[in-house]
Symmetry: C2
Subunit: 226 residues, 2 copies
């Protein structure tokens, strides 16, 4: 055995930067770190293969953790997945809200808010492509254990977009004939699919580039030369 080198290298590596964030507030930091590792391992595996095709052994292995640890931290495979969903969508909605509020503080209109949210969406997908992939894949399924969780969490995110649209209508900035719910869904779809396409098929393009293309579409500058 080479000194300083262990077979299953057990280095206390700092992966994220969790330690300073809300130090002490419920659970120990070590536990939080393991959970984070498990999330990261699970999200990519499940995005690639789907929930059922991904085994707990794989998740544990990729996280560099024993199988027992998975069950020490989560009641079951589905619970791990559900908490992962909640965690991820939490990040997204926070980011969307911040984007909308940012433009409001800067005195921008609702179109600016929508545009900022499109960018926030792109940034999110750029940072967490696997999560996005997985989310899309599960969203419209029925008969699954985490169905209700997914519902709640979806609503949180879409509600932010709907809110901005509604405010825009109230302020007279958008036509009052628009269908808020459907338009919100369509906008989300636009960003989602374009971004996944970007990441999958032309990853070399810059975020600004993609953002510009979507902005143009949003502002109806497609038909008719500018």
């Amino acid at each position: 055995m080479i000194p300083g080198k262990r077979s299953h290298a057990r280095l206390p590596v700092r992966i994220g930067a969790m330690e300073s964030s809300s130090a002490r507030s419920g659970g120990s930091t070590r536990r939080e770190a393991t959970r984070q590792k498990l999330y990261e391992a699970a999200v990519t595996l499940i995005a690639e293969q789907g929930f059922s095709a991904t085994t707990v052994d794989e998740i544990a292995e990729r996280a560099g953790v024993a199988k027992g640890t998975v069950y020490y931290n989560f009641a079951s495979k589905s619970v791990l997945f559900e908490e992962l969903l909640r965690h991820g969508v939490g990040l997204l909605t926070a980011s969307l809200k911040e984007a909308a509020e940012g433009t409001a503080r800067a005195g921008g209109g609702k179109v600016d808010a929508l545009d900022a949210m499109i960018r926030a969406g792109l940034v999110f997908i750029d940072r967490y492509p696997a999560f996005t992939q997985l989310y899309v894949a599960e969203l419209w399924r029925t008969n699954r254990a985490w169905q209700s969780t997914l519902m709640v969490v979806r609503q949180e995110a879409v509600a932010v977009v709907e809110g901005v649209l509604r405010e825009g209508v109230a302020a007279g900035e958008f036509s009052d004939e628009i269908d808020v719910q459907l338009t919100a869904a369509a906008l989300v779809g636009m960003v989602l699919v374009a971004a996944l396409d970007w990441k999958s098929f032309q990853p070399e393009r810059s975020l600004d580039d993609v953002h510009a293309a979507l902005s143009r579409l949003l502002q109806g500058r497609v038909s008719g030369r500018v």
Copy 2:
């Protein structure tokens, strides 16, 4: 042995009523009918639960067929799924092409073609919601057996939209600054997500209604009162 009573009763019972339907044309009609039943059973089950969570036994049971029959007709579970994908996307692309050509014959412009394709997409999703669901769920996965099939099949569908956009740019009907590939993806996403939302959360609405909302978005009649 009791006369008139055999252990495995061999009565010439009429089960289906296949005999008159298109007698002979390529493969046997019976076989084709079973395959169709299997497609239908598989598409809903896989849409609901995902590929891995759906068992061959379930598919067979829902199709009203023995498990062996599945393997008589398809080499494996994945092959059944791949052929199902090809079959479904074939229907979609045909429908999109027809929509675009229809407006061309009627002397409409490319905006009309896009609008007609949006409608065709909605009609398709209205008729085959399960297939759409399943398609979306699998499209951005990686590391799966049918990955390449999915790629080919996706390109066929998106190419139709891209084609119309390109023609529109060439004809000066669309700004030549649009990004064809990204815009096509965004449009597909818009329709896809809005339609799935419609089917999942407000199924009572009419197709015309949904189509109107998307048309408005396409033509940039969202920002600014009309």
